[in-house]
Structures are given as structure tokens and as C-alpha cells.
Symmetry: C2
Subunit: 148 residues, 2 copies
């Protein structure tokens, strides 16, 4: 046995730490997003749309790695608060064209204050964030390959 690191308990801690870290960071966004009337997943959808709109549910699903079944009601809420529009594509009535309203587009200015506020609160430097990002990317790739 000796004192080599135990892969089992380490793994437990990694999965555990991953879940907690994700919840904590989302919790960090909450007070910043709430004044804008957004939840964190809704914020991610808006980010995608600010980047490129219109997008279909399938495209959003692929970009955000979220189930269509999760996105469907989420998009209805975003429409209800007036940030997005949901129209059927005229070429293919099956696909939904999700686009921004003027209010949704205007929200971008406010939203751009969020990331620096998060970085400040985290108090981590660029190198640490980059290292984390590298590790996470590796995990995502590893988990994706074997996924379903």
C-alpha cells in the first residue's frame, strides 16, 4: 500500500468538488443576474443569442449542452419577460427561430458588467482561471466521448 495517493477517494473528492464548485459559482452570479430578471441558464442562453441570433432550439441545445426538454420552458419564460421572440421558421415549420427583442438586445450593456464583477469576487488570477479551464475542458472531452 505505502502512502501513494488513493485514486478512489480522490475521485470522490473530484466529483464532489465539481458539484460544489458549480453550485457556488452559479450562486455568485445570482445576485448579479437577479436585478436583470435572469437565472444563470437563462443568462447563458442570452450570451449565445448576443453572439449569434436567430438560433433554433436544436442549435441552442448543442451549444449549451442542454436538453431540448429543458430549453423549451426556459425559452417560454424568456419570452414572457420580453427578452426573446419565438417564431416558427418559414422554410421549415418544425424549427423554432429564437431571436432577440429590442429589450433583450439592450440588456447586453448591463450584462457586460457581470463577468468582471465575478472575476473580482472570485479573487483568482488569470493563470489560475486558465489552469482550471484546461482541466475542465479535459473532463468535458473525457465525459463526452463515453457519453450516451
Amino acid at each position: 500500500m505505502s502512502d501513494m495517493v488513493d485514486p478512489l477517494s480522490l475521485d470522490r473528492q473530484v466529483c464532489f468538488a465539481l458539484a460544489i464548485a458549480a453550485r457556488n459559482v452559479v450562486g455568485l452570479y445570482r445576485p448579479l443576474l437577479e436585478p436583470m430578471g435572469l437565472t444563470h441558464p437563462q443568462y447563458l442562453v442570452m450570451l449565445a443569442l448576443w453572439e449569434r441570433a436567430p438560433l433554433s432550439v436544436k442549435e441552442l441545445s448543442k451549444l449549451l449542452r442542454l436538453d431540448p426538454g429543458t430549453l423549451s420552458p426556459l425559452l417560454k419564460r424568456l419570452e414572457a419577460v420580453g427578452y426573446i421572440r419565438r417564431r416558427r421558421d418559414s422554410q421549415d415549420q418544425r424549427v423554432l427561430a429564437v431571436s432577440l427583442t429590442p429589450e433583450g438586445l439592450a440588456l447586453r450593456d448591463e450584462a457586460e458588467k457581470v463577468p468582471p464583477a465575478i472575476v473580482k469576487r472570485l479573487g483568482m488570477n488569470l493563470e489560475e482561471l486558465q489552469e482550471l479551464h484546461r482541466s475542465l475542458t479535459r473532463v468535458i472531452a473525457a465525459a463526452d466521448g463515453t457519453h450516451h
Copy 2:
């Protein structure tokens, strides 16, 4: 400007990658835990109880960083499937003493096969996992400190 890394977009990707990585890894556990009748959060509760039982809701809440409001119904489900017992503490009727049933205790043998299976599926080596763990610990600490 030059070509230095933009902290804003990096941060977006980090929070984004964190959420996706957490979901993906939980998804990796799903097919392994389902035969045992457990979800991932339920599995974490069982891990805590195998480590040390009995535990109160407050103690579990602190260990797992989960809201008592989240744990309450979760524990009822674990009791319904027969893995845990929920009794009021005789010394202090306010606290709930959560303990294992013989079935819950016996489940441990089966559960010990899970971590190595996850590590295998992830296909990451120890050093990568350790590096990830270090980064996550830093994030958790950073987010916790400023938290409420």
C-alpha cells in the same frame, strides 16, 4: 489591446465549462447509480453516512453544502427505498438523527465499485485529476469566502 488573453471571455468560458463539466460527470454516474436506485446527490449523502452515522440534517447540509430545504425531501426518498432511518434525537427533539438501515449499510459493497468505473470512463490519469481538484478547491474557497 494586442493579443493578450481577455479575462472577460475567459471567465465566461470557465463558468460555462464548470456547469457543463458538472452535468457531464453526474451523467457519467447515472447509469452506474441507477441499478442501485440512487441519484448522484443521494449517493453523496450515502457516502457521508458510510463515513460517519448518525448525522443530523444540519451536519449533512454543512458537509455536502446543500440546503436543508433540498435535503429534507431527498432524505424522505432514501427512507422510502429503505436505505436510511429518520428518527428524532431523544436529547433534542429538534434535530433529526439520520442513520443507515442494514440494507443501506450493505449497499456500500456495491457502491465501492463505482469510483474505479468512473475513473476508467473518464480516462484521465491521477495527475490530471489532482490538478483539477486543486483548481476546484481554490474556486470553492474563493466563492465561499465572499458568499452571503
